[in-house]
């Protein structure tokens, strides 16, 4: 057991800071609500009934625990360490996003809020939010950049089937960042009755903390499953990082296991040396956006630069503040993977494992050609397959020049 003073798992501090990152950079209108949310979250965390309801929904509605799977053919293919998958793509709604949505909607209900809003990039968080709103009978408005609406039509229709109103956002590059701006504008105008279900481990405190806590079910399960199946902890964890919720969910329960290395995979787009990427740690610098201080893609005047990634879920110029901290202290390494490498890994996983991964998760898989051979056959690499790729088949077909 690591003592508290040396633990990586005691962040954030009482003001919501992870080192210099995080915090509460919001308009005054939102501050009282943010403080209320924090108070309510502390109460919920200490309430066994809240945990029981969360756990029950996780088991019977989401379908947890998600399997731990040995990817035998990919392991053979790379000829290095053993490759294992945490199968978050098998969750209800097809991604890890539902874990967080269940937790947040229970908080919203506790706080007496009667209307839910959310932003979405790839549409996975929008679908998960629409799903829990349907399940609990709350009206739901999803903000989505119109570029993403165009490239994620199946998820747009799913959200509508689930009863959500999808509002296309036309500002900026019309992607995730702009959807988040518009959701915050809605929130500030409707704070009295509206709960904002933020989809990633970012935004003003306490969102990065509570999203991480809800998503930590991934790492807690994986840690127990690994020990049970192999008697050991994995040697390396791999997860894609946009805002970073699936990655922090996997990493956090392992942070105090010094023998476990961790790599977060950022979206390198056309390459971090170009102006078309979404690798905010590799290619950005600290700044303030969307309620928190974190690494951002920005110019010399602090104006935010548009991100680019083939994966709509990673197409964001910032990252959750805890990742910024873990990057700065060196506990987690971050590696950019380009669009073409992710596409290659996407296809390889389809053909060798019979699993169509989300393009987000394909970024994590695309680190394997670079890393697997550095590990021995008795060593284990655990990849978070955070979502399924059915939503991405149109984007992939387009990139491969195929007609559907």
């Amino acid at each position: 057991m690591t003592d508290l003073a040396n633990s990586f798992r005691t962040q954030p501090d009482e003001r919501g800071h992870f080192g210099q990152f995080g915090g509460r950079y919001v308009a005054e209108t939102l501050m009282p609500l943010i403080l209320d949310l924090e108070k309510e979250y502390r109460a919920a965390k200490a309430d066994p009934a809240f945990k029981a309801e969360f756990d029950s929904l996780m088991a019977h509605y989401v379908g947890r625990p998600s399997p731990l799977y040995f990817a035998e053919r990919l392991t053979e293919h790379f000829g290095g360490g053993q490759i294992w998958f945490k199968r978050e793509e098998l969750n209800h709604t097809g991604a890890h996003k539902i874990n967080n949505c269940i937790g947040q909607i229970l908080l919203a209900i506790r706080m007496g809020k009667t209307r839910i809003i959310a932003e979405t990039g790839a549409g996975q968080h929008g679908v998960a939010t629409a799903t829990v709103c349907a399940r609990f009978g709350l009206p739901c408005v999803i903000y989505m950049g119109s570029t993403d609406v165009a490239r994620q039509q199946p998820n747009v229709f799913r959200m509508k089937l689930l009863g959500a109103e999808v509002i296309p956002v036309e500002s900026g590059a019309k992607t995730l960042k702009d959807a988040m701006n518009e959701a915050m504008r809605d929130w500030v105008a409707n704070v009295h009755d509206t709960f904002y279900i933020i989809g990633t481990a970012a935004g003003p405190h306490p969102y990065p903390e509570l999203v991480r806590d809800f998503q930590s079910v991934i790492g807690k399960e994986a840690r127990a499953q690994m020990l049970e199946r192999t008697g050991k902890l994995p040697d390396l964890l791999l997860a894609a990082v946009g805002g970073g919720s699936n990655a922090i969910g996997l990493f956090h329960p392992f942070l105090d296991d010094p023998e476990v290395a961790m790599i977060g995979v950022e979206a390198g787009g056309h390459g971090v040396e170009t102006d078309k990427h979404a690798a905010s740690l590799t290619g950005g610098s600290p700044g303030v956006l969307h309620g928190n201080k974190t690494y951002l893609l920005q110019d010399e005047d602090g104006q935010i630069i548009e991100a680019h990634s083939i994966s709509a879920g990673l197409d964001y110029p910032g990252i959750g503040p805890e990742h910024s901290w873990l990057h700065d202290i060196g506990r987690v390494k971050y590696l950019p993977i380009n669009d073409d490498e992710a596409l290659e890994a996407f296809q390889l996983c389809c053909r060798l494992e019979g699993i169509i991964p989300a393009l987000e998760s394909a970024h994590a898989l695309a680190a394997l050609p670079k890393l697997a051979k550095d590990y021995g056959k008795d060593q284990m690499i655990l990849v978070n397959v955070s979502g399924r790729g059915d939503k991405d088949i149109f984007t992939v077909a387009d990139a491969l020049g195929a007609k559907i």
Partner: protein, 263 residues
């Protein structure tokens, strides 16, 4: 006496006018506001992600950035304004990231050098004051804070701590340029705020017409108008000075005389 004390000490309510730096012929537009009777100027610093702003000011931000407006350009506009108008208080208003990017000390020193009197930063609440507040105050500038309908009595002391110049009451929980709050709620809020501070209280968000401005000026020390000016710049582009002056004059007349028309 500071410029703010003079501006709010003229014996009538003050008209506070907002335009976005780099949108249209900003120097000429600022002169037009002063010529029309503006008592305080807020110069908006454009940002790529203006989360608290409605469509009009969002568009103004993007127009300014599309023209290549930089932080250096904004400081030069401020310095030029100060040279031409030694008496009119000038406030820079914007979002945290462009203000702290080169370091809050740098920004505070440059703003002070340019003759700026105060700064409004939308997304630095009292809880994050350390990011910018001490640096501004150290450079002799006022950190002008926002109070909102959600700022309750328990929070108000924290909002007032370290704030200066005037207190900006955001009359609606929402974004700029949209609906206006009911007058009764504004009056109640201003009374409550003034019981806790000696700072003048200016009221803004959703104020567009001389009639609205006059009604608010009866109960507040100042009235802030923004989106209505921004709409004029959007419509007239580089030639907005004359219509800006015209609207400012109408607003100034309404605001300055508001208390005299009440029997």
């Amino acid at each position: 006496m500071s410029r703010f004390e003079s501006a709010f000490g003229k014996g009538h309510p003050a008209l506070v006018c907002f335009i976005t730096a780099g949108d249209g012929d900003t120097a000429a537009n600022l002169d037009a506001l002063v010529a029309g009777g503006a008592d305080v100027i807020e110069l908006g610093m454009p940002f790529t992600d203006p989360m608290a702003d409605g469509p009009a000011i969002q568009a103004a931000n993007l127009r300014a950035l599309a023209k290549g407006t930089t932080t250096a350009d904004i400081l030069a506009l401020a310095a030029g304004f100060r040279a031409r108008h030694p008496e009119v208080p000038l406030v820079l208003m914007g979002y945290a990231n462009p203000m702290i990017h080169r370091g809050a000390d740098w920004f505070a020193a440059e703003a002070a050098k340019a003759g700026v009197d105060g700064v409004i930063c939308v997304d630095i609440p009292p809880e994050e004051d350390a990011e910018l507040g001490p640096q501004l105050r150290g450079a002799g500038l006022n950190m002008i804070r926002l109070a909102t309908p959600t700022t309750d009595a328990a929070r108000l002391p924290a909002v007032l701590e370290g704030s200066g110049g005037f207190l900006y009451y955001v009359s609606v929980a929402g974004i700029t340029g949209k609906q206006q709050a009911a007058l009764a709620s504004i009056e109640e809020a201003v009374t409550r705020l003034k019981a806790s501070t000696d700072l003048p209280v200016a009221v803004g968000f959703g104020v567009r017409t001389p009639e609205q401005a006059e009604a608010i000026a009866r109960v507040a020390d100042g009235v802030v108008v923004g989106s209505a000016f921004i709409d004029i710049v959007a419509e007239h582009g580089e030639n907005a000075a004359a219509p800006l002056k015209e609207l400012t004059a109408a607003l100034a007349k309404a605001v300055h005389n508001a208390r005299e028309t009440v029997a």
